[in-house]
């Protein structure tokens, strides 16, 4: 066999199990204090909450202590992430930096930047956005055209990024910018990663409201924005070499199968202790998918912990996971007992809210962070078909 995707089992170490209980206790407290509610998707952004999480030592968990990290394992980080997601805690202010931007800076950033930025991320103080997509560069990431031109002491940025989540609340962006034209031999050549201070003069942010009525997306316009040399991340023109191993982190985490989990939880609540067989079977099927996905996702976390870069396995988890979480609200909708004028009121506000919210966000799940089509291409390559 040329390929053999392996998802070996992971036994979580005792410290991760203890940590889980600690996180649960913290989240229970926060819910009781009214910081957030578990159903629906409201209040997903809270810097105050992120600071508390930072104070707990749960941001930048795997980073070196000298940069404000905690030198804990990927598996411990995994436990924190999935507990936060399952409880629908408002992590948006720190999650991008914790998952993606921080690790990129840690790996490719310059020393002074690492010393300054990473401890602030770990404290929950900084919100990051990712400047990848452009009007003519979506799935085709390497078609990015927003330019960075060399100038005295730094770079001048001109162009437009779009669909940038959280840009309006972010302190920094990590942007993929064109520093040279692509070459004939390598169309991915010529792009460079930069750390961009979102308060820089010349940046204009325009909101793009999504179909759920939320302001998450933005268009970010750069007009002669100065970025100092110090904020260059990695090698000039060589960003394509830096991108691929990050994706394993991004693609296989619990956020790739838990985004609509509350719809199932609320269906179980609605079902009560003794549902009919049809409803029970429907619940059972979804639980089977969920449990299997979690096992696979955890297995990828274990591979990362072991120092491997399971890029194809991560793509498999994301493809299966996002398709599952996207389909889940629809399955849940059809399993819910029928309600009519003469049926008893089912007291289902939590269910209704969860179902509405998850139905509305479902379309994005197989698009963000690599579309289904892109992922299947990666898997096909792993199978030796490309």
């Amino acid at each position: 066999m040329a390929y053999n995707f392996r998802f070996d089992p992971i036994e979580l170490p005792p410290e991760a199990k203890e940590l889980r209980q600690e996180v649960r206790a913290f989240l229970r407290q926060e819910i009781e204090a009214g910081t957030f509610t578990a159903e629906g998707g409201k209040g997903s952004f809270s810097k105050a909450f992120s600071r508390k999480v930072g104070a707990k030592g749960w941001i930048g968990m795997t980073w070196p202590k000298k940069y404000g990290g905690h030198e804990r394992s990927h598996l411990e980080r995994y436990v924190v992430t999935e507990e936060m997601l399952a409880a629908r805690a408002p992590t948006r202010s720190h999650s991008t930096a914790d998952r993606q931007s921080g690790p990129v800076i840690l790996r490719y950033g310059q020393e002074a930047v690492k010393q300054k930025i990473l401890p602030q991320i770990a404290a929950g103080e900084l919100c990051f956005c990712i400047g990848l997509s452009e009007p003519n560069s979506g799935s085709d990431v390497f078609a990015a055209a927003t330019r960075a031109t060399k100038t005295e002491g730094g770079w001048l940025v001109n162009g437009r990024k779009i669909w940038t989540s959280n840009a309006h609340r972010s302190d920094y962006m990590i942007g993929l910018l064109r520093t040279s034209p692509a070459t004939k031999e390598n169309r991915r050549h010529g792009l460079t990663q930069f750390l961009i201070d979102m308060k820089s003069p010349g940046i204009a942010i325009r909101p793009i409201i999504n179909l759920a009525g939320q302001h998450d997306f933005n268009e970010v316009v750069f007009d002669d924005v100065f970025v100092p040399d110090l904020h260059l991340i990695g090698e000039v023109d060589m960003a394509w070499k830096q991108a691929s191993d990050e994706l394993a982190y991004e693609r296989s985490g619990p956020d790739r199968w838990l985004e609509t989990f509350q719809s199932l939880t609320e269906l179980v609540r609605l079902a009560g202790a003794e549902p009919d067989d049809r409803l029970a079977a429907g619940i059972g099927r979804e639980v089977a998918h969920l449990a299997t996905l979690r096992r696979m996702s955890l297995s990828v976390a274990g591979m990362l912990q072991a120092g491997k870069t399971p890029a194809v396995e991560a793509a498999v988890v994301k493809d299966l996971g996002t398709n599952f979480e996207q389909a889940l609200p629809d399955k849940v909708r059809l399993l819910a007992p029928e309600e009519g004028d003469s049926t008893p009121e089912r007291n289902d506000e939590r269910f209704e809210e969860a179902l509405r919210f998850t139905t509305l966000i479902a379309p994005k799940l197989t698009i963000q962070g690599g579309t289904r089509e892109v992922l299947r291409g990666i898997i096909a390559r792993g199978l030796g078909l490309r």
Partner: protein, 353 residues
């Protein structure tokens, strides 16, 4: 983790002695003697029987790993059934005899009685390989309690039927049969528990069969040319194969989770019930969608008897139905989840790890 020597041994035996022609011949009733003999000589069918009862004394996980390989090769022999029978006999401290065996009943509502006169009464349906089994390990009821009876295959009334894969799935009449040996079993071992272990065994065989059809499909997509290039170069075909690969990976992971749960805590308890249910549901679904994609990729060739794809796909269709199909297990799992309530769903999902 299973012992890699056992897995390598099994792989070598199936590679050498379980070629597609052997599988075809078995479907016409020809017993694959060379294959079975090699398996026996290496102690694989009795892997789950302790040394002192005549077996190899291997771990549960080793036996499950052998079944994964057997499934990959569409082995037309009662390797799973003999493993299960040996295990069942060992629960009653009955030594395992040589030769192919099977178990009865294979349904949760199985109801075979052992009378005061020492004879059995009742019938069992869909008993795999009954007509080829030298012995049947029967889980029966004696004064309400369970016992295991070792019954010789010869002399039993067996009406032959076959599974979708052409494997024997017989109805066996036990009325008046006199067991060679009888032994009591530990509390908790009933028809449902036997079914649980059977389901876990089938998920391993199915995961193996799924691995095989992914292999075949990818190879076919690379070899078969249409419109001037290998069909595997077409994006639509690539995406189908990527979907198949995902289902195969999920099936393997789910089947292993069940095997580990059984190896870790035995047949009793909600956690094991949950893991086996999850596996039989998830693997069963993968069997359906996976077989469909494999056939689509193979086109008309895959629909012929000549190509061996059907050895695996017909087994998948048969096995997903046995020891409880997806719906049967989903009901059990759903009721279990509902009993614990919404707030226990996440703790349930994270309990194992």
């Amino acid at each position: 983790m299973a012992d890699s020597i056992i897995v390598d041994t099994a792989t070598r035996i199936f590679q050498d002695l379980c070629e597609p022609a052997i599988v075809n011949d078995a479907e016409t009733g020809e017993w694959p003697q060379a294959l079975w003999q090699a398996l026996e000589e290496n102690g694989l069918p009795l892997a789950w029987v302790p040394d002192d009862l005549g077996g190899a004394g291997a771990e549960l996980l080793d036996g499950f790993a052998v079944l994964r390989v057997a499934g990959r090769f569409a082995a037309p022999v009662p390797i799973a059934e003999t493993l299960l029978a040996g295990w069942l006999l060992a629960q009653a401290r009955i030594a395992a005899p040589a030769g192919p065996m099977t178990i009865a009943p294979v349904h949760r509502d199985g109801n075979i009685e052992l009378g005061a006169d020492g004879t059995l009464r009742g019938r069992a349906r869909h008993v795999p390989f009954a007509r080829q089994a030298r012995h049947i390990a029967v889980l029966c009821r004696r004064d309400g309690a369970r016992a295991v009876a070792l019954v010789e295959g010869a002399g039993l009334a067996v009406s032959g039927a076959t599974s979708l894969a052409g494997e024997p799935r017989d109805e066996v009449q036990f009325d008046g049969a006199v067991p060679q040996q009888i032994g009591p079993v530990p509390a908790g071992l009933d028809e449902a528990a036997l079914c649980l272990l059977g389901a876990a065994a089938r998920t391993q065989q199915m995961a193996g069969a799924l691995e095989r059809i992914l292999d075949m499909s990818v190879q076919h997509a690379l070899d078969r040319e249409q419109f001037g290039r290998p069909i595997g170069k077409f994006q639509a075909v690539q995406h189908n194969l990527a979907t198949l690969a995902g289902d195969v990976a999920a099936a393997g992971a789910a089947a292993d989770a069940a095997a580990e749960a059984l190896a870790g805590s035995g047949i009793a308890g909600e956690a094991v019930l949950g893991e086996v249910a999850i596996a039989k549901i998830r693997v069963g679904e993968a069997a359906g969608t996976g077989a469909a994609i494999a056939h689509q990729v193979h086109g008309a060739m895959g629909f012929t008897y000549e190509l061996s794809l059907h050895h695996s796909t017909r087994r998948l269709w048969a096995w997903r139905e046995e020891f409880g199909n997806e719906t049967a297990w989903a009901k059990r799992l759903g009721h279990l989840v509902a009993r614990h309530g919404a707030d226990q769903l996440w703790p349930f999902l994270t309990a194992g790890s």
